[in-house]
């Protein structure tokens, strides 16, 4: 350091440490404990003078609620029930507005394309802009907006009430057994909103080892970008096999099942990591259970609709528009009588078959690497670009398209849900892992570990299903 070089007696950091060590020896042992205990004495003195307690009415109710919500036998079932209610409300509430939005936006597409053509725009431009980019946007908005607008306020409500720390409390024993930190339950809960935010939320974990475990496994809870995929598949395939009266219940149930499976994978992979590359014991921690607070309804609506919903939707739109353009090009550039999309999808078909999926689905996943939100829309666009579907999409036409024309089975739907749950995190999350760990190695592990797991799990499921049921 230039300043110290000009000083009469330059001092090196090592000399400071040596001096500190020398001085420490001159002090009575345990001087630090003395300082700490004198602070505590002051704290007690000051607070005794300033605080007067006249009753405990408020805490009584809180304690009674906590007694049930965090109880040994009821805690977990109540949590699952709450989750199921949230998904059921989301699924039943989103159906109608989704269909209406889709109808309106696809009408706009037809009208705008016709109008552009009448103005003399060349066919390739009309196709690229309206049937490519705009159609991509329309899909994203109609599939994602209604579920998000219902799911986010419900989630924010629970968060404002103070339910999240109770979730961490309930799950603590599971995480401890997996060799992970109990606060990982909190970063996991944040992951339901956005995995990138979940990765940042792991900062509350003090041990670097446990923090890394939490970062690498955050992807196993589906973020809101992947929820629409899961909800759509659950509605179109799983629920469709049941009578309409219980269909939405079944759909909600299967989304809950997938989420629970995600939590199970989080725990299992944490356990594996804690016993292999990230060896170590779970550390103890204290967690405050804050009082339940009455949520501010207006603020919740504002936060969840403006900040969360619009933010996520905007991000999806930004990635969906280029994806729509790429798909249009892939579908409309022909080489030797086949479109590029068909050629690539055919190349991916063998791997897709092994995983119980197909080439088009894998192609959609590759195009959608920047953002998970757009996988289903991308898939639909690739199928549609092959000229198979001209109708306004409804649940029935969608089902008809996938089942009748593309040979989807229950296995395809289940494996797609599994793949969506497990596969690699989106580009933003991978970047965030890199920024938080400052390590390209861990960022690569964070991306490839889930991907590898997703491929293996879907292959096993497909093989078992084919062997046992001859699907």
């Amino acid at each position: 350091m230039s300043e110290s070089a000009s000083a009469p007696a330059p001092v090196s950091p090592q000399q400071v440490l040596a001096e500190a060590a020398r001085l420490r020896r001159t002090l009575a042992g345990g001087f630090r404990e003395e300082v700490v205990s004198s602070i505590y004495t002051e704290v007690e003195r000051v607070s005794r003078r300033a605080v007067r307690t006249t009753g405990t009415s408020g805490t009584d109710l809180d304690q009674r609620i906590d007694h049930v919500v965090t109880s040994r036998w009821l805690g977990l079932p109540l949590m699952v029930l709450l989750l199921a209610i949230v998904f059921w409300l989301t699924i039943t509430g989103a159906n109608v507005p989704s269909a209406m939005l889709a109808e309106a936006l696809f009408a706009v597409e037809d009208w705008a394309a016709a109008f552009s053509t009448s103005l003399g725009a060349p066919a390739w431009l009309v196709g690229f802009v309206w049937h490519g980019v705009f159609r991509g946007l329309a899909w994203v908005v109609s599939v994602m907006l209604p579920p998000m607008a219902i799911f986010f306020p419900l989630f924010t409500l629970l968060e404002d009430l103070g339910y999240l720390p109770r979730v961490a409390f309930n799950l603590d024993f599971l995480f401890r057994r997996a060799g992970a930190h109990g606060k990982q339950a909190l970063s996991m809960a944040m992951g339901f909103g956005c995995n990138a935010a979940g990765v940042i939320a792991t900062r509350i974990i003090d041990s670097p080892r446990e923090r890394l475990v939490a970062i690498l496994t955050n992807n196993f809870v589906p973020c809101n970008g992947r929820f629409p995929t899961l909800i759509l598949l659950a509605t179109v395939f799983v629920a469709a096999a049941f009578p309409p009266a219980v269909a939405s219940l079944v759909a909600a149930g299967s989304v809950v099942a997938i989420v629970l499976l995600g939590v199970a994978f989080t725990l299992a992979v944490s356990w594996l990591l804690s016993r292999t590359v990230l060896k170590g014991e779970a550390s103890a921690f204290t967690l405050e259970l804050p009082p339940y607070r009455r949520p501010g309804v207006l603020r919740i609506l504002y936060t969840s609709l403006i900040d969360r919903t619009i933010f996520v939707l905007w991000r999806a739109i930004q990635t969906a528009a280029p994806a729509g353009a790429v798909i249009w090009v892939l579908a409309n550039v022909h080489v030797g009588g086949q479109s590029l999309a068909q050629i690539v999808a055919a190349g991916l078909q063998p791997l897709g078959w092994l995983m119980g999926l197909d080439g088009v689905i894998l192609l959609a996943y590759i195009i959608a690497i920047p953002a998970n939100e757009i996988v289903v829309p991308t898939m639909m666009m690739v199928y549609m670009a092959e000229g198979m579907m001209t109708d306004v999409p409804s649940v029935e036409t969608l089902r008809a398209l996938l089942v009748d024309q593309h040979g989807w089975t229950l296995l395809t739907a289940v494996n797609l849900m599994l793949f969506s749950l497990l596969h690699n995190p989106c580009a933003t999350t991978v970047m965030t892992i890199y920024r938080e760990t400052l390590s390209a190695k861990w960022a690569a592990v964070g991306a490839l570990l889930p991907l590898g797991l997703a491929v293996v799990v879907t292959m096993v499921t497909a093989a078992v299903a084919r062997l046992v049921w001859g699907v």
Binding site: Y40, T56, G58, L164, P165, L186, A201
Partner: protein
């Protein structure tokens, strides 16, 4: 004795307050928000800056440093929302963010936000902050909740004992916000003299600190809170030792003057939920 009209001019009710959002350039003073987790720092931050930092009823929600600004009277202030922390000796990364800023960010005023229902536990951090800086205002938040539970906080007694202004507030409804900002303005400008409560160490301990101080200042010129560093070194804190020898301490100090750039502003501000 003030005349009624001059008293009116200085009355908080008449001071204009403006939320300046995320524009933090050209400010006159820097104000930091410290406190235990889940005491309402982010709610207060939002009420004063007009920003929408992610809030929620659980400890550990803020993990990064968020910055916003407000105008009070004629002066502009930068307000820094920090992650909650129980002590200045903490180890997790979010708590380190808070500690580093309080120690090395040179705030002109540190507001310690306390939960009125848990004064005793919250005082531990408050006393630690008082050890390192004179410029402190204590905000006793969630007064309404405490009242509901039959807990009464005598803010005068607190102010007398701590030697700094203590203001009861309800951040959620904005109650008493003006009084808080008046206290902050006084402390930040140096007009309000504080006499912070300090727990005296032994004479030998104080002598050792004084002996070590000039050496630390020679190694790291201009280091804020060299006294705290000296105490940590005497205590044999391995992390502080490493930070000093590797030159990281200087880097940490420099980083406090920059906005937290390791994540996108959107993510830091809203938790991107």
């Amino acid at each position: 004795m003030q005349t009624p009209s001059s008293a009116c001019e200085t009355c908080p009710v008449h001071t204009e307050m403006a939320r300046l959002g995320a524009v933090t350039t050209g400010v006159d003073a820097v104000v930091a928000l410290a406190g235990n987790p889940n005491t309402g720092k982010s709610t207060l931050f939002n009420a004063v800056t007009g920003l929408r930092q992610h809030t929620g009823n659980w400890p550990g929600k803020t993990v990064t440093r968020a910055e916003g600004a407000f105008q009070f009277g004629t002066r502009r202030y930068k307000l820094v929302d920090l992650p909650g922390t129980y002590s200045l000796l903490s180890a997790s990364q979010d708590e380190e963010v808070a500690r580093n800023f309080l120690l090395f960010g040179r705030p002109d005023c540190t507001v310690v936000v306390m939960d009125a229902s848990a004064i005793e536990r919250n005082l531990y951090l408050a006393l630690q902050v008082l050890e390192i800086t004179d410029r402190v205002v204590v905000a006793v938040n969630l007064i309404d909740e405490a009242t509901r539970r039959g807990i009464e906080v005598d803010v005068r007694s607190l102010a007398r004992d701590l030697g700094v202004p203590v203001v009861p507030i309800v951040a959620r409804t904005g109650e008493n916000l003006m009084a808080l900002l008046t206290a902050v303005a006084g402390v930040a400008s140096g007009e309000t003299r504080t006499t912070p409560l300090r727990t005296a160490g032994t004479a030998e301990f104080e002598r050792a600190v004084q002996e070590l101080l000039p050496m630390i200042e020679a190694v790291a010129p201009g280091l804020p809170n060299a006294r705290w560093v000296a105490i940590r070194l005497l205590d044999g804190d391995a992390a502080v030792e490493a930070a000093l020898t590797s030159g990281e301490l200087a880097a940490i100090v420099a980083r406090q003057l920059q906005p937290d750039r390791r994540f996108s502003d959107r993510l830091a501000l809203q938790g991107a939920q």
